[in-house]
């Protein structure tokens, strides 16, 4: 197991180094790919340094990144805080399900990105409209997976809770929520992914700050190296927040760890 993972890391590194060499070869060394279409590694590095120290668009890299993170955190956060309890309620109460599910069936097929123009009509190009579309994007998977989570709790578990006389808040906190947690986290992961996609699209359409705004500016300036830098940071932000969520998931469900961890 140990050995295998070491080999895994080594081969991953080898492949990534190989990819860098190929990148260097086809752009800088041979010029097969024109710099107007895809930047050299060196150029990309210079663009990164430039945006990090002097800024590009309307700010330095960290300002853009923080602004994007802030919008995602707000939209995603509100979606989760509202969506998860709502999903749990729909999963648990037949009345709530009957009342609310048709609305979801009607709204769910509309891709979150299609809400962007409506959000702009309603709230303009400000941060509020971006938070709204991120909220819409993150809300649906949060609700649906929490709802599915309740439905996935095995009937005997609920019967056992009933038999033991578990009621009210204790039931919600110690049976309903932990029982739905695996599915809730699946929903959160999808929500997070949708949040980033929506944020980038919304910022591409119009924003002063943010990773999408760098992309937009660089596209207009025909500045491939900066496009690439922005894309890399879109990927890094998505990956790191997903990793964070994974850590949270692991901590939130200690019972899913193996015996050896004890």
């Amino acid at each position: 197991m140990k050995l295998k993972s070491t080999i895994g890391v080594a081969s991953t590194l080898a492949v990534l180094v190989g990819a860098m060499i190929v990148w260097y070869t086809v752009t800088a060394a041979t010029g097969w790919v024109s710099p107007a279409r895809f930047p050299h590694p060196a150029e990309t590095w210079q663009s990164f340094v430039a945006i990090a120290t002097n800024g590009y668009g309307n700010g330095k890299l960290h300002q853009h990144v923080l602004n994007s993170l802030k919008l995602v955190a707000m939209g995603f956060g509100v979606a989760v805080l509202v969506g998860v309890p709502l999903g749990l309620l729909m999963g648990y109460s037949r009345k709530a399900e009957a009342l609310l599910n048709p609305a979801f069936l009607l709204l769910r097929p509309i891709p979150p990105l299609a809400w962007i123009p409506l959000a702009i009509v309603w709230l303009g190009l400000e941060d509020a409209s971006k938070v709204l579309v991120i909220f819409v994007a993150a809300f649906v998977p949060s609700v649906i997976n929490s709802y599915a989570g309740v439905r996935q709790i095995e009937a005997p578990i609920l019967e056992a809770a009933d038999m033991l006389g578990i009621r009210g808040l204790t039931f919600v906190r110690e049976v309903l929520v932990p029982g739905s947690l695996p599915s809730i986290f699946t929903g959160l992961r999808l929500s997070l992914q949708a949040s980033w996609t929506t944020l980038v699209a919304a910022e591409l359409i119009g924003a002063l700050y943010g990773l999408g705004s760098i992309l937009n500016q660089a596209a207009q300036d025909i500045y491939p190296a900066m496009i690439l830098v922005a894309m890399i940071f879109v990927g890094l932000c998505g990956a790191s927040t997903t990793w964070l969520l994974g850590e949270l998931e692991r901590r939130a469900m200690p019972w899913r760890r193996q015996w050896g961890a004890q």
Binding site: L164, G165, W255
Partner: protein
């Protein structure tokens, strides 16, 4: 006095638009501190009977009472041991046993005493902080039984509790349950399709037939057990070797087989 009484109980289900009768006018009394096992082919409604006593399902006709009160909902006075254990995967062994005690509102010292007592009783020492998925099936069912006993219920309802266990574990659990039942007798309704198990554990064995689920006959095992002094043997295989045991078992088998013969199509 903790009695379970079924008075003319019927239960029908709707399936694909057709009503079918799962339990047909069952009348039965499980007396105070009596261990009654119901055996029968799958689909004969024996589990439905147990679930009606638990308050997890309700009769469409007739009445089920426990300790003289009509059963209207599940509750800790009627502890259930489920076939699939039904432990809370996110709670440790101790927390699982403690959960029902907390709902009862007992104070902490009392709860700790009861949890420790039941952990010792079911040989679960050393596993207090383990999560259910880290335990074998047999160990999980011990936790479920400890959880049920900890509630100090009027009656215990067991739905094929050893059905999901392997043969060896099953034997050990049966022996322990007999010890527990003799040491600390309760009113028990035990559902099984294993004839051996029913004869070994129960005071009376109820034979049910399927389609519709009806009581065919009731055998008094306790009279034979006491007369032949089965309890002097601590091992199940020694009991199963006794002529009186074999005789009873064969009798039940024959009774069940008549049903199956009529069932061939």
């Amino acid at each position: 006095m903790s009695e379970i009484t079924f008075t003319n109980v019927s239960r029908s289900f709707e399936r694909d638009g057709n009503m079918f009768l799962a339990v047909d006018s069952v009348s039965l009394t499980v007396r105070d501190r009596e261990f009654v096992a119901i055996v029968g082919p799958s689909g004969c409604g024996k589990t439905t009977c147990m679930r009606m006593a638990a308050g997890l399902e309700f009769p469409t006709a007739g009445q089920v009472t426990v300790s003289g009160k009509e059963v209207i909902s599940p509750g800790p006075d009627r502890a259930v041991v489920f076939q699939q254990f039904a432990l809370f995967p996110w709670k440790t062994v101790s927390e699982n046993i403690d959960f029902g005690l907390r709902a009862k509102g007992l104070d902490e010292a009392e709860r700790r005493r009861i949890v420790e007592h039941n952990i010792a009783l079911m040989n679960l020492r050393g596993y207090e902080t383990a999560f259910p998925h880290q335990l074998s099936g047999g160990m999980q069912q011990r936790v479920a039984i400890a959880r049920a006993y900890a509630l100090d219920p009027d009656v215990l309802l067991m739905d094929e509790p050893f059905g999901a266990l392997d043969a060896q574990t099953r034997v050990v659990m049966q022996e322990e349950l007999v010890k527990l039942a003799r040491l600390n007798p309760r009113t028990v309704l035990f559902i099984t399709h294993a004839v051996d198990e029913a004869v070994y554990l129960a005071d009376r064995v109820v034979i049910m037939t399927s389609r519709p689920g009806k009581i065919k006959e009731i055998l008094d095992v306790k009279a034979v057990r006491d007369a032949e002094n089965w309890d002097q043997h601590s091992r199940i295989e020694d009991v199963m070797d006794l002529a009186s045991f074999v005789h009873l078992r064969t009798r039940i088998w024959k009774s069940l087989r008549e049903e199956h013969a009529g069932d061939d199509h």
